[in-house]
Amino acid sequence: MVNSSLTPIGSRAVLYQAECPFDLEHQRRFWAMADTAAEWAGVREAVPGMTNLTLLLDRVPLELDDLSDRLDALWRSGVSKPVEGKLLKVDICYGGKGGPHLGDVAEMTGLSIDEVVQLHSAPDYTVYAVGSHAGYCYLGGLDPRLETPRRKVPLTRLPGGSLSLAGLQTGVSASAGPSGWNTIGSADVRFFDPFRTPASLLKPGDRIRFCPVKVAA
């Protein structure tokens, strides 16, 4: 028995969710499901979210029962995609103008600025999913000691390359946009380039290591 759901998020878009822990092991199963479902007739794109899967369809389906059964079967099969993708090392200037909330994060977590930088740059983060805006990577692997709430007043325009964190998530924005997260640094990387193939620099399963090149209060 699978505790799952397949629901519409558009007239030609559906979201598949299955009850599971939020960890890399289960995320790998959604990567594998996305690869398989992307080949199905009638599926335009299959994109993994954070332990869920979205399908864009060619046509409006008349019902979801058949698709739901096929996805459940795929989930039950336990097929997994144990990719160890490429490792991207990203130079980061922590703090300063490009990381205005570094001090706030230190205060909220009770850590020193150096400890925040050390904890944040220690792990290799895994790209769980790509989305939100073009080239943006949802990363797994943030140290729980760096968990912080979102900001009460979001920034209306944060430049591309901003390194931010909130909750148990962290990531680098790929283009300028609004953000409610705590911004602690900046990087000079083109995560998305429409004239490059593939346009997105990273894909699910790739990894990122943050390398502090400068720390300013």
Partner: protein, 325 residues
């Protein structure tokens, strides 16, 4: 060739949007009102992939540098060619030196301007649409500015009667009195809302607020409360999704929607009705009507049939024996 004399902020070149790069986090962009965009193209005999200029807010002014055909469709905006009033939907010839003006909008929110073969901008990742956040596509990856020159893809004009053409299909009329009706499917968290909130969502009108752009519209109306709480894991979203953040007021994502989000989703507006949101403006009201997949499929087919009807009707009057030339 036309020159932009004056233009409101956020006017862009758009087609039907970018498909196939959603997995890279790239939203589809494209015309906010794909119906008016397509009608303007159909009037000139353009292909479905042709690009138009999307002009929100108005007023705007263009000058024709050459004698050529053009078409407009969308909002009611006091359009004038060389001082002569034009109907909301129009295709005709402009002489070199003629000015095309769009005055203040009195119904709807966006006007589409088409040229023969489409607006000539490069195709990037399969589309000519402007991707505003990522700053590529369309005209140099940006909004249009005064002084910009826009070229048609083809330099031969379609046959048009001297006084011009219009099209009137009841399906594609602007909503009366700003009352917008949207058909929607219940979405993922629909059943986690209070029964009272659901009853209100599907029966009471919501107001279009000033917080609206190509990314989405924030609505205001009855507070939509949920019986369960807790953060959702980030998941795919597409244009048409109606999310309800903790404030209880819904947001409809539109053409420049992000590809992933995390707010509870109460409903998903069906694609054939999304064009109406592209013409929604503050003061308009929105009513949601619950439908299932069968009706969504029928609505999609009906809309395509209406486009086919428009194309066929135009082809019929273009036949030589009915020629006006």
């Amino acid at each position: 060739m036309i020159r932009v004399i004056s233009i409101p902020p956020l006017a862009t070149v758009q087609d039907l949007g970018r498909d196939g790069h959603w997995f890279e986090g790239l939203g589809r962009a494209g015309a906010m009102d794909p119906v008016s965009h397509r009608i303007a193209n159909i009037l000139l005999g353009n292909s479905t992939s042709a690009a138009t200029v999307e002009i929100p807010l108005t007023p705007a002014r263009f000058r024709f540098e050459t004698t050529q055909a053009f078409a407009i469709a969308g909002a009611v905006c006091g359009a004038k060619l060389d001082g002569r009033k034009l109907p909301r939907v129009f295709a005709g010839m402009a002489k070199a030196g003629d000015e095309l003006e769009f005055g203040p909008i009195s119904a709807g929110a966006r006007v589409y301007l088409a040229l023969p073969g489409g607006i000539d901008v490069p195709t990037v990742l399969g589309s000519r649409s402007t991707q505003l956040r990522e700053a590529f596509g369309g005209h140099e990856g940006r909004v249009l500015n005064p002084g910009d020159l826009l070229n048609p893809v083809t330099h031969s004009d379609p046959a048009l009667p001297p006084s011009g053409l219009s099209l009137d299909l009841p399906e594609f009329r602007l909503p009366k009195e700003g009352e917008i009706h949207l058909r929607a499917l219940p979405s993922t968290e629909h059943d986690t809302f209070d029964p009272d909130a659901l009853q209100k969502f599907w029966s009471e009108p919501f107001d279009v607020t000033r917080q609206n752009d190509r990314q989405g519209h924030r609505l205001s109306g009855p507070e939509l409360t949920r019986t369960s709480t807790g953060e959702l894991r980030s998941h795919g979203i597409v244009p048409g999704i109606v999310q309800v953040p903790s404030g209880g007021q819904p947001i409809i994502q539109l053409a420049d929607s992000a590809t992933m989000g995390g707010y509870p989703k109460i409903a998903a507006v069906i694609e054939p009705d999304l064009w109406r949101m592209g013409q929604a403006r503050p003061g308009d009201t929105i009513c949601f009507h619950k439908v299932g997949f069968a009706e969504a499929a029928r609505a999609t087919d009906d809309q395509e049939a209406a486009f086919a009807q428009a194309k066929q009707a135009l082809a019929n009057v273009r036949e030589p024996e009915l020629s006006w030339a």
